[in-house]
Homo-oligomer: 126 residues x 2
Amino acid sequence: MSVKRKTKSVNLILSIFENSSEALSVVDLVEQLKNDMNKTTVYRVLERLENEGAIHSFTGSNGLTWYAKCRECDAHHHNDIHPHFQCEKCGKVECLEINIPIPSIENRIIESADVLLKGQCSDCMK
Amino acid sequence: MSVKRKTKSVNLILSIFENSSEALSVVDLVEQLKNDMNKTTVYRVLERLENEGAIHSFTGSNGLTWYAKCRECDAHHHNDIHPHFQCEKCGKVECLEINIPIPSIENRIIESADVLLKGQCSDCMK
DNA sequence: TTATTTTCGCAACTAAGTTGCAATAATATA
DNA sequence: TATATTATTGCAACTTAGTTGCGAAAATAA
């Protein structure tokens, strides 16, 4: 269920996340790694790294899956409500290290929340 | 760009939303309407109804597209930040008529936000 | 009633993500 | 170190959401 073996694929994907403060879409990762490994391997390594708690996944504005490594990824669970930001101009996605308080809702148990803020990043608003 | 003609397909889809307080996934709509119209028509009618402002769309927890009619749909724009709730047990999705305040973020312009709360609905928490 | 223009159905397509299985590579054991 | 064990990978084929082009049909305008 988690990462048992440190293979080339695992190390390569981990190093990409270590060197990037931004989130990465699976589509981009598959493209970027197409000479290094099969796309099935990309999907499976990402799944294992998420189960291990090394990275976390979320859905971007167009329904695509994104992964990122953030400080909170060292924690045991990913139920924390930290928002993501996607720039509508350049497409970049990043984790925001802020906390958005979610009110309790009558007659419902809130277990987690996906919050995606959309707008323009600092580069694109110049 | 919007709904110019009141066809059978348009009326049928609109009546489904009038009679449902819940959001509906496109996949479910295509299945439900498969004897009435082609799936391409479902996609195109939904798109037109959204452009007209009759319904609004958002992304569910698995990346699928959902549509719903809510009170705010009568308004002119859909930039309002109203959250959606998805029950992780039965899969039902609904609009929440509450306002989640989004803080302003340094160096970024926030134009809109997708907020999906996940948990258990009143039926499933019994 | 006819002409115009939007909408629909169909079939074929695209792209993200999944699955089964045999081959390979990493680790454990002797 | 050599061998056995088990996780991981590559490949090809598949599934499913969503899209596109085009001719036919339906809605509205003239």
